[in-house]
């Protein structure tokens, strides 16, 4: 005889319904715009920030963005920051925190949610992407024409984005490779013949914005859902 150690109060079940948020994208003018709806029928909302954003990374609950001279979050925290673009890795192990690499100065800092704390960092190449891991971070560099994570070469690529959980996105020409931590790969032909993938922006935990010379795309990185969608907005 089965012993029920719990009971449902079915009559009290309730539903909360809202518009699904896919993430935040950067348009061609650097405006950070929320994207909502079904992936293939997405609509963009009002710009999150009234100004040009140079770098952006978002998770399901927060965004950290870099303008020319400041770092700010979707929670409204703004601090001065070194000029130029930045590479931002949200720290899923410490919500609200992030690693921020300032490209022009070559300096790395830890964003605590309130301030930037400088970190010692001596990369062995041009830093292209960061990823928070338990107790620290990993980074990808371009060295000798190849992309490296530590001592492992990912081959030749013109853009890379390290994904939480060990995966990575690599762009070569007009193609995107999704590398899983289990060693599997998925390939996506994004841009047309002669096309070019210019970079990646982490829109949310699930979606990555892929910027090509002829359009803005969103890649669903959720295992089993991997698919590309064209985002509203031109790329040039």
């Amino acid at each position: 005889m089965k012993i029920l150690l719990f009971s449902f109060v079915a009559a009290c079940a309730w539903a909360q319904i809202e518009n699904p948020q896919l993430g935040v994208m950067l348009d061609v003018n650097g405006r950070a715009q929320p994207v909502s709806g079904a992936p293939a029928a997405a609509v963009v909302g009002m710009p999150w920030f009234d100004g040009a954003v140079l770098s952006l990374a978002c998770s399901v609950g927060e965004c950290v963005a870099k303008t020319e001279s400041a770092l700010f979050t979707s929670a409204g925290v703004v601090v001065d920051a070194p000029p130029g673009a930045a590479i931002i890795a949200l720290d899923a192990f410490s919500p609200g925190a992030a690693y921020v690499y300032f490209v022009e100065s070559g300096k790395l800092a830890r964003w605590t949610g309130n301030e930037l704390v400088p970190l010692d960092f001596a990369p062995s190449g041009d830093v292209l992407s960061l990823r928070a891991v338990a107790g620290g971070f990993e980074y990808a560099v371009k060295r000798d024409g190849e992309i490296w994570i530590g001592g492992k070469s990912l081959g030749v690529a013109n853009a890379v984005l390290l994904l939480d959980g060990g995966g990575a996105l690599l762009a070569s020409g007009g193609n995107v490779r999704l590398l899983r931590s289990d060693g599997t790969e998925l390939h996506f032909a994004v841009a047309g013949p002669g096309g070019f993938v210019g970079g990646f922006i982490r829109m949310s935990d699930q979606f990555v914005q892929v910027i090509t010379d002829d359009g803005m795309w969103a890649l669903d990185t959720e295992p089993g859902h991997e698919q590309m969608f064209l985002l509203p907005g031109v790329s040039h």
């Binding site: 539903a15 319904i17 518009n19 293939a40 609509v43």
Partner: protein, 470 residues
Amino acid sequence: MKARLLFLAALALAPGMLEAQVVLYSLNGIAPSPLGSVYGYGQVAAGDTMIVRFRALNTGTAPVTITCLSIKNTTGAGFSIVNSSSTPFVVAAGQPMDFFVGFSATAITSYAATLQVGTGTATDACGGTIESAILLATVVPAPILTVAAPCTGPDANKNISFGRIVQGTQEACTLSILNPFPQALTVSPLLVTGAAFTTTSANAVTIAAGQSVSFTIQFSPAAGSAFSGTLVVGTRTYALAGTGFSPPLSSLVWNFDSTKIGSGEQHTLSLQLSAPATVTAAGSMTLAFSPSVNTVTDDAAVRFVATSTRVASFAVNAGATAITLNAQPSIVFSTGTTAGTITFTVDSGIFGLSGSPATSVTTPPAPIALSSSAATSRANELDVVISGFDNTYSIGGMSFAFVDRSGAAIVTIPADFSTDFQTFLKGQTGSSFLMRVSFPVTGDVSQVGGVTVVLNNAAGVVTTPSLKFP
């Protein structure tokens, strides 16, 4: 006599009493030329009418009243005033009075008349101060011009029409000149002018009595526009007119990347012409959406994705069949999340289009499309999170089948959130939703291993995968 001259001199010196002076001009177009004592109309073809515009200009400093305007035919009867202001007519200082004198006659001979412009008193009319000129004209034999199809004319105004033909093509019309007179007639000049009109005829031709000669004029419009020219046949000048036009573009070939199109999808559309375009053409293509769901009027996500609009430009080069859309070989559109009909319509403007300019695709009502689903647990609650869309807008009824850690069924709970969804969807531009259903639980939550959700809508049933609680 001497006393009279002194009197006239005294008049001339008296301020305010000077006679206003009238000077006559002829006008060729708008340029006036002083009219001498004789004005020649030249040769006028028998039966034709030639009209000349004259001007009486008051060169004085005081108004003058023209009381007389007359033509006195002195040889034959061919001249007449055809249009003028009625007299007496007051002409202010420095101002003109224009009038028109026509000539027409049929007898082959010379004609003369006297043109008189008088400023005398009402009683003496043209007996007072008079400006005058002798008008001369000669009527010459006129051949009869006829035009064969496809051209038409000449009409009463000597217009010959070549009609409308496709630009870049040619149309030849045969014209005949008949000499109706009992003696040979030399027609000179015989000239064609105009960029689109040519002839192989000589510049002059002699036609035997009662005979006719034929020649051709070729109309070759190089562009899609109106063309004009002239044909001079002796003393007569005919206006040549024709229009070149762009042929309509051939019918459209619509290419969708899939024959099966549903909601929540992006598809690629490319367009071709069934035959090469004869001209470089451009226009626009619009997208319209008609929902099949009664409760909504539109879905904003149905549009061309890259530009977030429902209009795109199209262009095709001469000689090509491929049409570019927004300067690209194809265009991506979203089908939105509402069942209905998407209609694409091409507006080719002045270029025209053969066949239908529109096509439609239908996104049929479908079971709820799930984007993601997950199950989580809290201290005293189990949460089920599902996102997706319902293109029928009838979502609401669902059931949750819970299992324990071993997979054995625990309980199936039906639920109806129709009211919640109807309220939510009223404020949305599509049917996308993210639903979090929470189940309060008492007891050991960790014994609940998973849940499977069945969702219903008007088009069917969909079931989630088995969702595991952590």
